[in-house]
Amino acid sequence: MNWALSIFYYIVTVLVVLVYGLLLYAFIAKTMARVQGRIGIPIYQPFLDIIQTYGRRTAVTHGYMFDLGPVFRLTGGLGTLAFIPVIYGSEIFGNFHFAGDLLLVMYFIFFGQLGMALGAGESGHPYAPMGIARGLAQMTAFEVPFALAVIAVFMQYETASITEIVAAQQGSIYNWTLFTNPFAVLAAMFAFLGMSMYPPFDLVTAPNEIPIGPPTEYHSAYLSLLQTNRAIFAGAKLVLFMNLFFGGATNLPIMVLKTWAIYMIPVLIGVAFPRFKVENSIRFFLGVPTLVGIIAVLYMQYWGTV
């Protein structure tokens, strides 16, 4: 294995995903604005924002953990991406998927969130822990249907290797998990609503209660790291969902198309619904979505292998 080449390819992947993620963000923002009858931002606005925040001359720090929060956050995004093969069969977009399987990805997602939570905690701002507490609480709930969905997928393909899961879905659209294991996909998409931070589950940043929550105190270069991460992390998550449930992608355009389509689901639901209270959100995820997840597992256990 040529490490230098691997690293170079990985950097390419990160840049591609970053650009794509920022574009996607702008596109969604624009879509939502149009739904609400506004014009919305220009498509290049996120790039301007990121350059602007990187270019700031001053910053205020609350301590070392505060400084490290965004670093953790971005590492989380970069790492999650690093362990997921973005494009099936591609050497360039294969990343370091050989370091670990699906379980590694599922747990590495927490890395950035935990680090960020700690950094935000040191900021001393009460909105930060409030947002984090809500976020963590909601996370515990939506992880249940998600985990059950992933388990059902595992049962179906009898492997935790993402590459092999994608491989098994190749050939026909009917080989996608979406069609072969519909309950799992349904449960996972419920969970995805929670992960995406759009209404009705945008509790963490809840703009008119705890203005933007955890990152309240972050600005300038710190904020720019968070913005960078938002693009990369969103991209990584979308790719993960695409790989597990929607047949993966064999080239870049397919990847763009599929991930955009997946992303539209929470966006469309988000523009139509008001926000849940935290306890309602928790109960929601532990209700029907969890039931669907259980059905997915039982379905696989008793009929899936027939």
Partner: protein, 1047 residues
């Protein structure tokens, strides 16, 4: 010449002679009279000691024939080994007892005479082989007892003495009637002759005759419910007399029962039942008792009941070769401990259990008290422990489950009230002061001496079992360190460290496989925690080091145990020492008692299982567990339940949060990280022995698997709702041990490696976090997290410890914890436990809640103004923390150095399914390269870090104070009110708070309440009215008669 001088008959002659002379001498010189009395008593001791010595060397029993005619035509006395043993004990107690109460005795010559005659009566009852002669000695003993009880001449003592007269007279009457009827049927009064001709004792007359003799003796042994008079006597009599009544007179009656037992073969079940009823009922009533004298009475009565039961049952099953060990062991324990406790009771002023806190002013006495209590409770290394072990094993061989169950139940109740008493003694404040100066050492020295004898007897009994030489090492090491407990803290710490290190160096190389891994975990883990023990500068910790060493060494002997007895012994020693260490906490009285009771209950489950296994296989080796498993699942279930209790398993976890919270802060680290692993070790002992049967135990294992995960979830949710930092971590321990239980139940290679990995993991991070928290608590003096906040500035190293700890617990890569989670899911999926995997995921997600709460509310957010000048934790705490962190980082970087030995150790039992490619570990389902992940994450971390650093080089970065925040809309008031910490997850409580109802606590409180109610109801028999008592005696004899007739 010597033999004649030391003839047992001389006891009676001397006593009568002294009785005659004493009034004369006393009139001249009271001082000399006293010396005569002591000389006589000493002479009794010498005679019994001499014969005991020669008899044990194999000499034949001494037969004393009176009137020059052979028995059965004349009265004969016998002095065999059993007689010598009992009389040596009784006469020794009499000698010390006389010395103890000499102040009272020397007033009157009559008191001295009575005392001597009393002791002679006891000697006679033991020696005689003639039924009528027995009656004579009974009368002599009884009459002198009545008077001695009432010696103080206050109304309570007089009334108690009078009740004693009523009961004693009734008993003697029965005895005489029975003797007459027997003589009528057989024409002989000689006991041996009666036994030979027992076929002549027939019909209703014969039954009635035997019934009356038996009834008389049993009544004197104070069976429930016909024992109210006896309890009043114990309570009212002078302490010295009560002591000898409890140990001397009762011993004589017990011995009398032993002598006539061959006549009573058809009565044995009834005798055993009445003994057991007394044992259980007195112990139930003991729960409610608040007067220590009366409590001792209940304990005496109960112990006698147990001895009667043991005697009857062993005879019934022709196990008479165990009578010396079992009944002798129970007797000597009861004898020494009860005498010691009654003597202590005489020293203490006041009649409440709490008044025993006076003993604290003399450390040697509180330690003696502890030893006496421990001996009574049947804990090692004291004689009762060995006796009960043998009794349970022997009974189980004959499938006597019911008897064993009730014996263990009674023993458990006994532990409850005895240690509740001890707890009161160490925690209460008595307004009275201990005054022992006036009597010199006369009153307390015998107590200490008897404690020494107890230890010696325990050692002697231990030697009759097949045990390794080191089995009792924990006790001796503890005792040795106790001797230097008065020295400086640092010195004791170093001594303890040296002992433990030396022991580790000795022990670890001799272990292999899983035991070796446990050895590498537990002993070095203990050493690290012990390094922290001096962190509270200037605070003395009496008892801490001896007990700590005892605990660690008993863990070691547990690992080295090869027999079930060795295992159980080490387990009990560990329980006792950890209980005592927990009880050293400031408010730990109740929590430590609850801990002890649950632990002992768990230990009894283990004992029961061992006995079942022994009965099924006839082998005492631990390897017999596997063979027994073929026959039934019960041993497996019982053992699992026993270990489950130790681990704080779901439903039986109620002891854990408070025990962890209230013990000393650094010891909590020990409890959680090291001691809880003993339960895990137990699981593996069972598992590795039963590998062959595990395949057929699918249902049990599935249940255990679910229970473990529910434990994990419940622990996590409870932790998230806790405001008390130590409760939070305690619940977290419950949750984390839940995963270990589940992975153990998975019972495949991955599962067991996961269980071991999780255990190592738990040891490291719980040691780390609890020590870090000990530092925080030492500095901020509150356990409530919402009263802290923002301490990262003051305690950066402690913060890093907790940070590393919580990342490890959470299972986030790249640290050690991820490996545990990865193995856990792999194992679950491999086993096909899919829904369980979903539950595991939920539980591990909920864990994030409490982990963030833990670190945030303590270290992040806003600082309280009073904590502005808080310092970093003491160095003593930081050194072990740093060591733990280094270990965590090393294992995180190279997971293979941990997983590979674990896999190798598990492989002999569960064939390995792992494939290694360098650092890459491949299982059936997945793969993970821990080394690579660590490196990737490390490099990736550097990227944004360097980016931020480069950007900030160009910027003007201003560092602001904690309260300087950009606040929306309004101005924050004070840092204290801006810290978001209290009721952190209020909405979680609203959503699924119903899961946190303390149902288990409520259930166990109900059980405890019920026990007390039973005790209270049983106590209603004791009205204090002599007529009622007499009625009860008649009622008792009547019921006995009916029972015997129906059999």
């Amino acid at each position: 010449m010597v033999t004649e001088l030391l003839s047992p008959l001389n006891i009676i002659i001397i006593a009568l002679g002294a009785g005659f002379l004493l009034p004369l001498i006393h009139a001249r010189s009271p001082r000399f009279a006293g010396q005569v009395m002591f000389a006589s008593l000493l002479y009794f001791v010498i005679i019994s000691a001499y014969h005991f010595y020669t008899l044990i060397g194999g000499a034949p029993a001494v037969e004393i024939i009176t009137a020059g005619i052979q028995p059965p035509f004349a009265i004969n006395l016998r002095f065999g080994l059993a007689e010598a043993f009992v009389l040596l004990a009784v006469n020794t107690a009499a000698l010390f007892g006389a010395r103890y109460m000499f102040d009272e005795l020397r007033e009157h010559a009559s008191a001295m005479i009575l005392f001597i005659v009393w002791i002679m009566g006891i000697n006679g009852m033991v020696m005689t082989r003639d039924l009528f002669n027995l009656f004579i000695f009974v009368e002599i003993t009884a009459v002198s007892s009545f008077v001695l009880v009432a010696m103080r001449a206050n109304s309570i003592a007089l009334s108690a003495g009078f009740k004693y007269v009523i009961a004693g007279t009734m008993a003697s009457g029965f005895l005489l009637l029975g003797t007459m009827l027997l003589y009528y049927q057989t024409g002989t009064l000689n006991i041996d002759d009666l036994i030979i001709h027992q076929e002549m004792i027939t019909g209703p007359f014969g039954t009635a005759a035997l019934m009356l003799v038996l009834g008389a003796i049993l009544v004197e042994l104070k069976p429930f419910p016909a024992n109210g008079w006896g309890l009043d006597v114990y309570q009212a009599a002078p302490a010295g007399i009560a002591a000898l009544l409890s140990v001397g007179v009762s011993a004589a009656y017990l011995f009398a029962l032993y002598k006539i037992l061959p006549l009573l073969t058809s009565f044995l079940p009834v005798i055993a039942a009445t003994g057991l009823l007394t044992f259980v009922a007195s112990n139930f009533i003991g729960l409610r008792q608040s007067d220590p004298r009366r409590l001792l009475g209940y304990s005496s009565v109960g112990q006698l009941g147990l001895m009667v039961t043991a005697l009857a049952l062993l005879t019934k099953f022709s196990l008479t070769e165990y009578i010396p060990l079992v009944v002798g062991g129970l007797f000597i324990s009861h004898f020494l401990a009860k005498a010691g406790l009654f003597w202590l009771a005489g020293i203490i002023k006041g009649s409440e259990l709490g008044d025993w806190s006076q003993l604290r002013s003399k450390p040697v006495l509180i330690i003696a008290f502890l030893f006496l209590i421990t001996a009574l409770a049947g804990l090692p290394p004291f004689p009762t422990f060995w006796a009960k072990w043998q009794l349970v094993m022997s009974l189980m061989e004959y499938q006597q489950h019911g008897w064993v169950f009730f014996i263990l139940l009674g023993s458990l109740l006994e532990v409850v009230y005895l240690f509740r008493w001890f707890g009161k003694a160490v925690s209460s404040q008595s307004d009275k002061a201990l005054d022992i100066s006036s009597s010199g050492n006369r009153q307390w020295l015998p107590v200490v001496l008897f404690v020494g004898l107890l230890l010696a007897c325990g050692q002697v009994m231990a030697s009759s079992f097949d045990l390794p030489v080191m089995a009792l090492l924990p006790v001796y090491a503890g005792l040795l360190l106790m001797l230097i407990d008065g020295l400086g803290e640092r010195l004791k710490q170093i001594a303890s460290l040296l002992v433990i290190i030396a022991y580790s160096v000795y022990l670890i190389p001799s272990l292999d496989g899983l035991n070796w891994i446990f050895g590498l975990m537990l002993l070095p883990g203990s050493i690290l925690i012990l390094i922290a023990s001096t962190y509270q500068q200037g605070t003395a910790r009496p008892g801490f080091y001896p007990l700590f060493v005892m605990l660690v060494l008993s863990l070691g002997t547990l690992l080295a145990a090869e027999t079930m007895l060795g295992f159980f012994l080490a387990w009990e020693l560990m329980t006792v020492s950890s209980y005592l260490l927990v009880s050293l906490g400031k408010k730990a009285t109740r929590p430590s008692l609850v801990y002890l009771v649950f632990s002992i209950a768990g230990a009894f489950l283990i004992l029961f299982a061992f006995a079942l296994i022994y009965a099924q296989t006839g082998s005492m080796q631990l390897s017999a567990i596997g063979q027994a498993g073929i026959v039934s699942n019960w041993p497996f279930i019982l053992l699992l339940s026993g270990f489950f209790i130790k681990m704080g398993g779901l439903g039986v976890h109620v002891w854990l949060p408070d025990a962890y919270a209230e013990c000393d802060d650094d010891f909590t680290a020990m409890m959680s990280s090291v001691v809880s692993k003993a339960g895990v070790f137990g699981l593996f002992v069972v598992g590795t022995q039963m590998t062959a049967q595990l395949n057929d135990m699918d249902t049990i294992l599935t249940v255990v698997g679910w229970v473990g995960l529910i434990m994990a979830l419940a622990g996590a949710i409870m932790a998230a709702m806790s405001e008390d930092i130590k409760h939070l971590l305690a619940y977290s321990s419950i949750g984390q041990l839940g995963y270990i239980v589940t992975t153990f139940a998975i019972a495949n290679h991955t599962g067991w490696v996961a269980a071991m990995y999780l255990a190592v993991n738990h040891l490291l991070y719980k040691g780390l976090i609890f020590l870090a928290i000990a530092g925080v608590l030492y500095r901020v003096k509150t356990r409530y997290m919402y009263q802290m906040g923002g301490l990262i500035k003051n305690m950066p190293i402690s913060f890093i410890s907790v940070l590393i700890g919580i990342i490890t617990i959470s299972g986030v890569p790249p640290l050690l914890g991820f490996g545990g989670k990865w193995l856990l899911y792999n194992a679950l999926l491999e086993r096909g436990w899919y829904l369980q995997a979903g539950l595991a995921f939920f539980a591990s997600a909920v864990a994030f809640l409490y982990l963030f709460k833990l670190i945030h509310t303590i270290f992040l957010g806003q600082r309280k103004s009073e904590h502005e000048h808080v310092k970093e934790a003491p160095l003593a705490l930081l050194i072990p923390q740093i060591t733990f962190m280094v270990l965590i980082m090393a294992f995180s970087m190279f997971p293979n150095i941990l997983i590979q030995p674990l896999s190798d150790a598990v492989a002999p039992f569960m064939a390995s399914t792992f494939t290694w490619e360098g650092y890459l570990l491949i299982t059936e389902n997945g793969y993970w390269n821990g080394f690579l992940v660590m490196n990737i994450v490390g490099v990736l971390f550097m990227a944004p870090a360097i980016l931020l650093w480069l950007v900030s080089k160009k910027m003007k970065v201003q560092k602001v104070k904690q309260f300087n925040i950009v606040f929306a809309a309004e101005r924050p008031f004070t840092p204290a009110t801006t810290h978001y910490a209290y009721n952190f997850y209020a909405f979680y409580d609203k959503a699924i708070g119903f899961l946190t109802r303390p149902d288990a606590t409520r259930f166990w409180n109900g059980v405890s309440e019920w026990g007390h109610t039973v005790g209270a109801s049983l106590r209603r028999f004791y009205t204090g009215n002599g007529q009622t008592y007499a009625g009860l005696i008649l009622f008792y004899i009547g019921v006995m008669y009916l029972a015997v007739r129906t059999l």
